[in-house]
């Protein structure tokens, strides 16, 4: 078999290619065909180029035309989130947390209401902490120092009023008495203390203590010690 390609001298390479791929005008086609019929060199060159072209054509038809078109999957969701900005990212994050956000909102509302009533609500009342108000308990347990101070100072005033009722004020001796620190204890659901009308603990109005169950507190009190010392 011949394996040496003679050098093509006619210089009609572009015309050969155009003719093989049928991209030639009618007039140029006739001119080329006329030349081809009379030029051995162009005929051989045309045959060589046509043979190579046919090999590729055959390869394409045999191997590629039978292949099914692959299905390409585009991750449109990720692209959308990425391209939409912070707001969309937040929206996706919120959707991801599901139920946790409404639950957290309810907790926040409960805490807020409890704190509000603690500040503005009944005076001298012991807050009854029940099992149903555990979130409130947790919230109150982490209350601020100011809140705790208010409770303590309120209890101090209650104690003073109570003492004044029992014995003549020893404050006439000019001595200041140490305030009694009342300890708050958890009350069970049974011992839940009904609230009376809301009173401000800071006011001079005396709370109605008889409405509350008296829990005997046997712990040593500072006031007792000071009383003994003071005589």
């Amino acid at each position: 078999m011949e394996n040496v390609i003679d050098e093509y001298r006619c210089g009609l390479a572009d015309d050969i290619v155009s003719y093989i791929y049928n991209e030639v005008e009618q007039v140029e086609r006739k001119e080329f065909e006329t030349h081809l019929a009379g030029c051995m060199s162009c005929t051989d060159e045309f045959a060589a180029v046509a043979d190579a072209r046919f090999s590729i054509f055959e390869w394409h038809k045999e191997e590629f035309s039978k292949l099914p078109t692959p299905v390409f999957t585009i991750p449109y969701v990720e692209q959308t989130v990425r391209s939409a900005g912070l707001f969309s990212t937040l929206a996706v994050t919120v959707r991801g947390f599901g139920w946790a956000i409404p639950a957290a909102a309810i907790v926040v509302i409960c805490v807020g209401l409890t704190a509000y009533f603690a500040l503005v609500g009944d005076s001298g009342e012991e807050v009854a902490l029940t099992s149903t108000s555990r979130p409130a308990i947790a919230a109150i347990s982490i209350s601020t120092d100011e809140r705790s101070k208010d409770v303590v100072s309120s209890s101090i005033e209650i104690d003073r009023a109570e003492r004044d009722q029992k014995e003549p004020p020893s404050s006439e001796r000019g001595k200041s008495r140490a305030p009694t620190v009342r300890s708050f204890k958890r009350v069970s659901a049974k011992g839940r203390v009904p609230r009376t009308s809301k009173t401000n603990l800071r006011t001079a109005d005396k709370p109605v203590l008889s409405n509350y169950k008296d829990i005997e507190d046997k712990s040593l009190r500072l006031s007792d010690l000071l009383d003994e010392v003071g005589g």
Partner: protein, 200 residues
């Protein structure tokens, strides 16, 4: 001399020697010429006519014409060139026949659709093996082409883009696109010629 031994003997002869033998004593020797060149002549006809059925008919008639004119082969050109000339003339005759037929009938407006190549279902097992080997060779040859040449081949043969579309896409002059395609096809042919496919 048996037929098998005759066939083996013809394999060792050149094209010119076979034609001489066919003219002098053994017309059947021309069968070896057909076997050697049928694919290339068919490719030439397909390149000129663009239709597989017309190319097959034209190639058939070209070989018949060559066989009838064996005595007219003077040996001043290669057998392949002689066959090419006959095939080109046959294709031009086919085109003239089509044009004259088209003047009487309604023109067929299929255009490029007529260039669909329908693979023959009549291949023998040997032919199929030969074809598979050739496909492997073509694949290897195309993948080893320089990237700028391979690019044009792929765009023309696989994307079926026109020269103008390739020119616009690659931002190259039209003549550059054509010359690159020509160079690619020539290099491809050289690669395929270096490793011929053996016919079993």
């Amino acid at each position: 001399m048996g037929e098998a031994s005759t066939q083996r003997m013809l394999l060792d002869l050149t094209d010119e020697q076979i034609v001489e033998r066919a003219v002098r004593e053994d017309p059947n020797a021309f069968g070896e010429i057909v076997r050697r060149w049928e694919r290339k002549i068919f490719a030439l006809c397909f390149g000129m006519l663009g239709r597989e059925d017309e190319a097959r008919d034209a190639a058939q008639e070209a070989f018949i014409a060559a066989y009838r004119n064996l005595a007219g082969f003077r040996g001043d050109a290669k057998v392949s060139s002689w066959l090419h000339r006959i095939a080109v003339n046959q294709c031009l005759t086919t085109k003239r026949r089509q044009r004259s037929r088209a003047e009487d009938l309604i023109d067929d407006e299929n255009g490029e659709e007529d260039r669909i190549f329908v693979a023959s279902a009549l291949y023998s097992p040997a032919k199929r093996i030969e074809k598979t080997e050739r496909m492997n060779l073509v694949r290897q040859a195309v993948t080893t082409l320089p990237s700028d040449l391979r690019q044009v081949i792929v765009m023309k043969e696989f994307e079926e883009m026109t020269f103008q579309e390739i020119s616009d896409t690659l931002e190259l002059p039209l003549s550059t696109v054509k010359s690159r395609l020509y160079t690619a096809l020539k290099q491809l042919r050289m690669k395929l010629e270096r490793t011929p496919v053996e016919v079993i």
